[in-house]
C-alpha cells in the first residue's frame, strides 16, 4: 500500500526550495511509526529505550519508544495522551461565556492565540462587529504572545542541545513580555482578556510607553541570541542537515507554521487568508529552503523580528485611538457597563440574562483557522442555538507536528533525536487537548 501514490504538484508560486531529498521518507505502512528494518533486527543489537513521559528533553509529557543500534535511531514510535484533559467535553458543559477561558490552557505557551481563535469563531457565528481598537489590541497581544512562544522554544531547545545560557537570555525577555500582559490584563499567563465583541477592559494608561520600551529593546535582544548561536560552530554542527523534511512530505504530513515555512513552502495564514487587520500591516514572511533543524530555528528567530515590527505598527494605530469603544455595544451579547445598571431596567435584564443563562449563539457550524506560533490553529464550533456550545474541536498544530517525528528521524543519532523533537516545537497540552 504505497503512501500517497502520486503527490499532486505543489503550486510553484509557493515554493522556495524545499526539495531536500527526492522521493518520500514517510514510513510506509504506518506514516507515524518508523519500523526497524529486518536486517537490523536480525543483528540483535537493537536496544529499545523509553524517552518516557518524565524525560528532561521531551517538551512535556511526550513518550517516544526509540529503537537504537548504538547511537543510531533505527525505530521510533511516539505515544501521546499523557496530558489529555478532556477540554472539548468540558467546554460542552459550559456556557459560551465561561468556555472562553478553557482554550488558553490548551496551548499554554501561545494562550492568547488559542483564546482568539475561539472568540473569533463565536463572533463569526454571532455576526458581531468588533470595534477597530479591540481588533488592533488583539493583534498586538497575539504578536507579543508569538514572541513569547518563540522565546520559550528557543530557550528550552537550545538548553537541550547544550547552549544553556540561551535559557537565561530568552527568559529575561519573556518576563518583559509578561510584565506587559500583567499591566494590561492583570495576570502573566492565561489572561482571559478577549471577550466576545472585543476586550474585557480598556487599555490602561501607561501601557503605550511601556510597550514602546519593549519594542525598542527587543531587536537588540534578538541580536544577542543570534550573536550567541547563528555562527556558533557547535550549534551549526548539531542543527544543520538534521531532521530533514521536504516540502512534499511536510504538506503530506499536514505540517503548518514554522515547520512548513522551514521546508520552503511560503504559507502563512496571516498573509494568505488574512484575519483581524493583518492585511493592513506590512511584515515579511520568513521562508527557508533546507527543511532542517537550523532552518526552523532561523524561521522562528526572524518571525520574532517581524512580530516586533507588527507590534510597533499596532502601537502607532492604537495611540491615536484614545476614547474609542473597546467592545461592541450589542446588549444581547455584551455585558452593559456597571454604572448603567443602576439607572436602566433594560440593561439590568440584559445583564441578568447574560450572566445567568448566557447569551445564545445562532445554530450553525464553522471552522476558523488562525496562524498561531506553531501553525494553523483551527477551531471547529457547532452551535445548536442554545447557551452552550454543542461541539468544539481544536485543530492542534502540535498534534500534527509530532506525526512528523518518524519521518524526520531518518538516520539520526540519539543526540539528533533531542534536537529534532525540540525543533518541531510541540506543546503537549495542544497535542493531547
Amino acid at each position: 500500500m504505497a503512501i500517497a501514490p502520486e503527490r499532486p504538484r505543489i503550486d510553484p508560486a509557493l515554493l522556495r526550495g524545499g526539495d531536500v531529498y527526492e522521493g518520500t521518507r514517510i514510513p510506509s505502512p504506518v506514516p507515524t511509526i518508523l519500523e526497524v528494518s529486518d536486517e537490523i533486527r536480525a543483528t540483535g543489537d537493537v536496544l529499545q529505550v523509553n524517552f518516557g513521559p518524565n524525560h528532561p528533553s521531551t517538551h512535556g509529557v511526550l513518550r517516544l519508544i526509540v529503537d537504537l543500534t548504538g547511537e543510531e535511531v533505527v525505530g521510533l514510535k511516539a505515544v501521546i495522551g499523557y496530558l489529555h484533559t478532556g477540554f472539548e467535553k468540558t467546554m460542552e458543559q459550559k456556557t459560551w461565556w465561561k468556555a472562553i477561558t478553557y482554550p488558553e490552557r490548551i496551548d499554554y505557551v501561545a494562550y492568547q492565540n488559542n483564546e482568539l481563535v475561539f472568540v473569533l469563531a463565536i463572533e463569526k457565528l454571532l455576526a458581531i462587529e468588533v470595534p477597530p481598537k479591540a481588533t488592533w489590541m488583539r493583534m498586538l497581544l497575539c504578536e507579543l504572545n508569538r514572541i513569547h512562544s518563540h522565546l520559550v522554544y528557543l530557550g528550552t531547545s537550545a538548553l537541550e542541545i547544550g547552549a544553556i545560557s540561551m535559557f537565561w537570555y530568552c527568559f529575561r525577555e519573556r518576563d518583559l513580555i509578561l510584565d506587559l500582559f500583567e499591566m494590561v490584563t492583570g495576570y502573566r499567563m492565561h489572561t482571559r482578556y478577549f471577550q466576545t465583541g472585543g476586550l474585557a477592559e480598556d487599555i490602561p494608561i501607561g501601557f503605550y510607553p511601556e510597550a514602546r520600551k519593549f519594542v525598542d529593546w527587543m531587536p537588540q535582544a534578538i541580536d544577542d541570541y543570534e550573536g550567541l548561536l547563528a555562527r556558533n560552530a557547535i550549534w551549526l554542527e548539531r542543527t544543520r542537515g538534521i531532521g530533514l523534511l521536504s516540502a512534499d512530505d511536510a504538506i503530506a504530513l499536514g505540517q503548518t507554521g514554522p515547520n512548513l515555512r522551514a521546508s520552503g513552502v511560503d504559507w502563512d495564514l496571516r498573509r494568505r487568508e488574512p484575519y483581524l487587520f493583518y492585511d493592513q500591516v506590512d511584515f515579511r514572511v520568513p521562508v527557508y529552503p533546507n527543511g532542517d533543524v537550523y532552518d526552523r530555528y532561523r524561521v522562528r528567530v526572524d518571525e520574532m523580528r517581524e512580530s516586533t515590527r507588527i507590534v510597533e505598527q499596532c502601537l502607532d494605530r492604537l495611540e491615536d485611538m484614545e476614547g474609542e469603544p473597546w467592545i461592541a455595544d450589542d446588549r444581547k451579547v455584551v455585558l452593559p457597563p456597571r454604572e448603567e445598571l443602576h439607572t436602566s431596567m433594560e440593561s439590568l435584564i440584559h445583564h441578568f440574562k447574560i450572566v445567568t443563562e448566557g447569551y445564545r449563539v445562532p445554530a450553525g457550524e464553522i471552522y476558523v483557522p488562525i496562524e498561531s506560533p506553531r501553525g494553523e490553529q483551527g477551531c471547529y464550533v457547532v452551535s445548536d442555538g442554545g447557551p452552550k456550545p454543542w461541539r468544539v474541536k481544536f485543530r492542534a498544530p502540535s498534534f500534527v507536528a509530532l506525526e512528523a517525528t518518524a519521518t524526520t528521524m531518518h538516520d539520526a543519532l540519539v543526540a539528533d533525536l533531542i534536537a529534532i523533537v525540540g525543533s518541531l516545537d510541540s506543546v503537549m497540552g495542544d497535542t493531547d487537548r
Partner: protein
C-alpha cells in the same frame, strides 16, 4: 627517611578520612525508608519501567570508542614521571617528549582519516 614521607602520610590521612566520614555520616543520619516498595528496585525508565533490567547486547562501535579513549587519553599517565624529572633531563627530556607526542599525532591522523571518529554509519 621518615621526614620526607611525613607530608605524604598526612595527605593520605586526609584523603582517607574525608570520604570515609562522608560515607559514615550519610549512613548514620540517613532517614530509613518507611516502606520497602517494589518500584524502588526497578530501574528508572522515565516513569514507565516494567521489570528488572534485561541484559542488552551493546553494539561493537562502543568498543571502538573505548579503545580510542584508552589510546589517546591514558597516555597522560606516561607523561607524569617525565614531568617530575624534566629539569634534570633538560633538553633531552623535552625532545623525547616531542617524539612521543609525534607518534600519537600520527596515530591520530590515521584514525581520523579512517573515519573511526565518526559514528559507524
Amino acid at each position: 627517611m621518615l621526614e620526607n614521607w611525613l607530608p605524604f602520610l598526612i595527605w593520605t590521612l586526609f584523603a582517607f578520612t574525608i570520604p570515609a566520614s562522608m560515607v559514615l555520616f550519610s549512613f548514620l543520619f540517613a532517614t530509613r525508608p518507611k516502606r520497602r516498595v517494589r518500584a524502588r528496585v526497578l530501574p528508572f525508565e522515565s516513569g514507565v519501567s516494567e521489570g528488572p533490567p534485561q541484559q542488552h547486547r551493546f553494539t561493537v562501535s562502543f568498543y571502538l570508542t573505548a579503545m580510542l579513549f584508552i589510546v589517546f587519553d591514558i597516555e597522560i599517565v606516561f607523561l607524569y614521571p617525565l614531568a617530575v624529572v624534566l629539569n634534570e633531563l633538560a633538553w633531552f627530556g623535552f625532545f623525547e617528549f616531542l617524539f612521543f607526542v609525534a607518534i600519537l599525532v600520527v596515530a591520530y591522523v590515521y584514525v581520523w582519516r579512517k573515519g573511526a571518529l565518526e559514528w559507524a554509519r
